[in-house]
Symmetry: C2
Subunit: 329 residues, 2 copies
C-alpha cells in the first residue's frame, strides 16, 4: 500500500477544497494510505479515514525556499518532514510553488546524477484525450545542455509509465524545426540526444505545432517553458472571455448558447486543467506533486491521483535507472 | 508623398493576393506612391496606377539571407535594391521571413547605435480594439541586456506614434513580476530601464497577464518572444478547432451556431491577425514590413497600411533620436 503525505492547508480555497479532494480521491482509489497535515479541528471530517498530523501555520503564497525552511510549524514543512520520517511514497501540496519546489528539493534531495529538478505539467492537445508532457515549465531560470537532455529523459520515462506510451515522441521546443535553430544550450542538447540515438527523439518543434498531438514530450529550459505555459493559459482565458461575450450579445446568441451548451461543455472538459491534477517535480528523490493554488476538490483529487499513479509505477526508481542506461553524456 | 516598394511575388497565395491588397490599400489611402516589383504580365491590372519594376524570380520560403543575396533577379532582392536606389520610404514583402529580415538588415543597414533589429507584431488583448506591441518575436536567438533595452525603447516609440499612446506602458516578459525574476539578461535590462527612469517602464509581466490589456509594449529576447508568439497562435488554432467541433456536435448545436454566429464573427474580428498587417522590423534604417506568407488581399492591404503609417510618422527618425535621448547605457 502506497503512502501519500498531504499538506491540507495550502489551497487558496482552504481546507474545504482539500477535504473534498481527499474524499473524491477515496471514492476512486482504495490502494493508498493518506497522512494529512493540518489543523485537526478543521480536518475532523477525515479523522476516521486518515492519520492527521497537527500543524496550523500556512506558508504564504509568495514564500520562497528560505521562508519555508524558517516556518518550522507550517503545514508544508511538517508535511515534507513527515514524508522523510515515515518514508512515504509521495507528497502533495497546493501551497506556494516556489517555496514547495525549493523546500522539497532541499529536503528530499535530487536523485544522484540529476543536476536540476524540472517542473512538468500535462497539456491538452488537438487530439481528444491525448496529453503532452511539457517540462521544464518553470523550476529553473536557465539550463545547461546536459540538464535539458536529462529533462528529455525524465519526461519520456514519465510519459511511458503514466500514459502507457511505448516510445514517447520527444521534441525540443525551439524557434525552428531545423537542428541549427534554438539557443546554444538547446542546439547542444539536440546534438547530444541525436548522437545518443535516444529512443523517440524526433528533433525540434515550434511552439505553434507543439500541441497538435504529434509530440508526447516537449522539452524546454525553465524560462522558455514558463513563457509557453503561461502564454497558453493567457490565451485560454482571453478566448474564454470572448466566447462568453459572443454568447451574451443578444437574445439570439443567448438561445444559441443554450442549444450548443453541450458542445461547449465537452470543449471545456478537454481543456480543463483541473483534470491534470497539477504539476510534478521530476528529478527529486521522491514523488512531489504541486496541486494548483486555486484547486477545488475535483482538481485536488486528481493531484492526489497523479501522486498515487507515480508512486505505484515507481517513477523515481525508473528515472534513477533510466538516467544511467546509455547515459554517455 | 511617401513611396513604398512592394515585393509582389512573395505571397503563398500568388499575385492575385498582392494585387488585391494593393487595390484595397488604394481604396483607403491615396497619400502613397507604390513601386511594384514582379512579373509585368501578371501585374498588368495595376500598370496604370503604379510603376512596375520587372522581376520574375521568387525567393523560396525556406531561403536564408545568403540565398536571397545570391538570387539577384528575385523580386525580393530587386525590391530591396529599388528601395535603396529610389530612396523609398518603406518596403513590404510577404516572402521568406528569414531571407527578408536578413537581406533588409544587410542592405538597408541598422540605425547607427542599434545593436540588433527586432521583429515586432501587434497582439490582440482582452480590451476590445486595444493592441499590445510585442518584440522581439524572433529576429534574434539571444539578446544582451543593452539590446533588450533598445527593444523597449523602439517598441515604445512605435506604440506612441502608431497607436497614439502618450506614454506607452512597457513591460518585460518574464517568469515572475519581481525584478529579481528572469534570465540574467532580462534582470540586467530591468535594472538599466529602472535606473534610466525610462518613461512608461512598469517592470516585469508574466506571460499569462501579458495580453490582459494593461501592457502597451511587451519586451522579450527573440527566443522567448518567438515561443510566446507561436505558442499563442497554437492555442488559438486549437481553440478554433474545438469551437468548430462544439458547434458541429448535433442538430441543436448547429442551430445554436446559426443563432450565435454574429457574436462569433465579432470574436473572430478581434482576434484576426490579418488586420494587423504582419510584422515590422524595428532598428533597420528604413521601414520594413513583413506581411504574412499566407496573406490574402485584406491582410496584405493592412501590411501596406502599416508601412504607410510608419513612413508618415517617420518612425525611423524618431527611433534614431529616441535612442540618443538620455541614452546613458
Amino acid at each position: 500500500m502506497k503512502t501519500i503525505v498531504v499538506d491540507m492547508m495550502g489551497s487558496d480555497n482552504g481546507v474545504s477544497a482539500t477535504i473534498d479532494g481527499v474524499q473524491q480521491f477515496f471514492s476512486r482509489n482504495n490502494g493508498a494510505k493518506l497522512i494529512l497535515v493540518g489543523d485537526p479541528l478543521q480536518l475532523a471530517p477525515l479523522k476516521d479515514q486518515c492519520e492527521i498530523i497537527p500543524s496550523t501555520d500556512i506558508v504564504p503564497m509568495e514564500a520562497g525556499a528560505m521562508d519555508v525552511m524558517r516556518l518550522k510549524n507550517s503545514s508544508m514543512l511538517v508535511a515534507i518532514n513527515t514524508c522523510i520520517e515515515r518514508q512515504a511514497d509521495a507528497i502533495v501540496s497546493a501551497g506556494s510553488t516556489g517555496g514547495f519546489l525549493s523546500a522539497t528539493t532541499l529536503k528530499l534531495k535530487l536523485i544522484p546524477g540529476v543536476e536540476r529538478a524540472a517542473l512538468m505539467s500535462p497539456f491538452p492537445t488537438a487530439i481528444r484525450g491525448k496529453k503532452a508532457t511539457v517540462l521544464d515549465i518553470g523550476a529553473n531560470n536557465e539550463n545547461t545542455p546536459t540538464q535539458i537532455v536529462q529533462f528529455a529523459k525524465m519526461g519520456s520515462i514519465f510519459a511511458k509509465r503514466i500514459y502507457n506510451i511505448d516510445t514517447p515522441k520527444i521534441y525540443l521546443l525551439s524557434n525552428g524545426v531545423e537542428e541549427k535553430k534554438g539557443t546554444p544550450e538547446l542546439k547542444e542538447a539536440h546534438q547530444i540526444l541525436k548522437q545518443l540515438k535516444y529512443p523517440g527523439f524526433m528533433g525540434n518543434i515550434e511552439a505553434r505545432e507543439a500541441l497538435n498531438g504529434e509530440a508526447d514530450v516537449i522539452v524546454s529550459g525553465g524560462f522558455a517553458g514558463n513563457i509557453f505555459l503561461k502564454g497558453s493559459e493567457g490565451i485560454l482565458v482571453l478566448m474564454n472571455n470572448l466566447i462568453k461575450k459572443a454568447f451574451k450579445r443578444n437574445i439570439f446568441t443567448k438561445i444559441g448558447y443554450l442549444l450548443s451548451k453541450k458542445g461547449f461543455e465537452d470543449m471545456k472538459t478537454s481543456l480543463n486543467y483541473k483534470t491534470y491534477g497539477g504539476a510534478t517535480l521530476l528529478g527529486v528523490d521522491g514523488v512531489v506533486v504541486k496541486a494548483h493554488g486555486s484547486s477545488d476538490g475535483f482538481s485536488f483529487s486528481y493531484a492526489l491521483e497523479v501522486a498515487f499513479k507515480m508512486a505505484e509505477a515507481d517513477v523515481v526508481t525508473l528515472i534513477k535507472e533510466g538516467l544511467q542506461d546509455g547515459a554517455n553524456y
